[in-house]
Symmetry: D2
Subunit: 184 residues, 4 copies
């Protein structure tokens, strides 16, 4: 008998205060979204490398343009991007043109770019030291390990900063990458 009564009360409560009636708009950043955004970047890099090997430079360049358009936040005004291998006076790539040149080269305005994404990468793995999520932005810091087609692994120190756009997607608005310091 007691069970039946309890169920009745629960049913009445469910009618008078229906929690499920409320609409939830949640624009906060979650850890899993951050990890997915990192993996997407890595997957895209390997995709560009594979596309270059199989379909040539123009296909790789078209894909890189898509990736930059889709994953970075250049449409927000600028991206704070310091790629691993750029030199003065073109160290920072705050425009999409500068980012594209870094990834696929062949741009006479950036004569020192040889195309980082064209180097035959077969694997790319982020390894986070720390993640800081603050409201609608997030930052990560750690190593990223790149494996080339000969199995050689290159490791860099990498910081990414993300903000969530109106559509709910994380976009890279900060990217600082550097070779490991060797201690001489």
């Amino acid at each position: 008998m007691k069970t039946a009564v309890t169920i009745m009360v629960a049913a009445i409560l469910a009618i008078s205060v229906p929690a499920s009636a409320s609409v939830i708009v949640n624009k906060a950043v979650t850890e899993s979204e951050v990890l997915a955004a990192q993996q997407n970047w890595c997957d895209a890099l390997v995709d560009i490398s594979t596309t270059y090997a199989e379909s040539g430079h123009s296909c790789a360049k078209a894909l890189a343009e898509q990736v930059i358009e889709g994953a970075y936040g250049y449409q927000m005004g600028a991206v704070l991007f310091k790629p691993t291998l750029t030199i003065n006076p073109q160290t920072f790539r705050t425009t999409p043109e500068g980012a594209l040149s870094y990834f696929v080269g062949s741009n006479s305005e950036f004569p020192n770019d040889s195309g980082f994404a064209l180097k035959g990468w077969t694997k790319c793995e982020p390894e986070n030291a720390a993640i800081f999520i603050s409201g609608n932005s997030a930052s990560t810091m750690g190593k990223v390990h790149f494996t080339d087609k000969d199995g050689q692994v290159t490791t860099v120190d990498k910081t990414w900063g993300y903000v969530k756009d109106d559509a709910g997607q994380l976009r890279i608005i900060l990217h600082h990458s550097s070779l490991e310091y060797s201690g001489e």
Copy 2:
């Protein structure tokens, strides 16, 4: 055979890229934190009512001071607080003194306050129409149902705005409460 190999590779990856090594600082607001903050407000209101009935006005006032100090964000500069029953020119209570007076009355500077938290409330239930979480702040809108000691229910339209403080606690920085419009 294929399954066994896959598992071995997965085990190797798990060792070389230990996700558990990273430190996560997450300051984003979650839905459950918002619901808990609402419930805490309701529980505190009933506590003040009970304390008043059992231990008198000075105990209720001391508790109300604690609640305002602990749950609102007056230390951030001001709170946007429009209580249900205030009148001009003291409609808005942007200071902790004004909030305290609304809840427990007996303040000659706010002669129209009779003490909303002293009205013998035995139950307080939020019913959300919608919640909007944006970064380190959140807003809720809906009904709140107050039951008094005779079982009479009063319902108000209520909006709360929260921000997360440095200690990770949600604080009310906006509170707009109003009687339901009757249609005449």
Copy 3:
């Protein structure tokens, strides 16, 4: 001699380290943006009233649709909107259809809406009690005074919550309006 050399070095540094070279992307909300968003809402309300009087209901409705689309954040998922004169069970208008019906009426799904924006408003003035800006969101609380064509003034207690969208525009994601409490 030493002074002259120092000045030359300083001049060279000033050229090589131009502070103006940096790109600034600033997505923080400013007080003037908040005040402008409030004024825009008021101006739009008077515009809809005027359009209704001069050009009829369908023109007023078309304008109201534009205003809701342009000033509110329904495209972000929902808006927490409690208009002044709505009654249960349609108190909250979390969809654009519900907002439009409140402003211009003539919607059989919302039979109690007579069209708040059609009431011949000639003036609308916000008077803030407090503003709270936190990152990319802002909240305001205060009075809004509406003057009709006979010079009669109606005052309501009003809270607005805004977030800045990707395009840099403030959008209303929270709007709680209520008649002043008379004290009985």
Copy 4:
């Protein structure tokens, strides 16, 4: 005559709707706050160097502890800090102990740290490539030029991420510093 009347009405309105009556709480980050935070970091570095030269290691260490406590956000949970000259497996300094060791050395737990702030710096100048302010956080990227006591200048690529704390102060929660890439 008409002008005079208009001015009178404006004066009356200004009295009845005093904008200055509203309380403003503004927690957004400004560009000048960001520039000041960068300059403070540079000034503190030179201070530690000077203190070390004039008053010895224990005074320099005490000052460095104060600087880390005051300028970084370790109390928020962790800081994403990759100093210029750290090596594996101690590249990242997510704790205040690791940061202190980097700046003043003499910590047996971090045997490769020689104390970056003890290197006789006499000048430190940030040169921003870009700044991104998003709500209550901000990021900067650019060069920082360090001048030692012999007038030698060392330049690094540096990213800082800040969040504003409850007291309204910007705190460094991200700091990635790296030697310039030489192109071989």
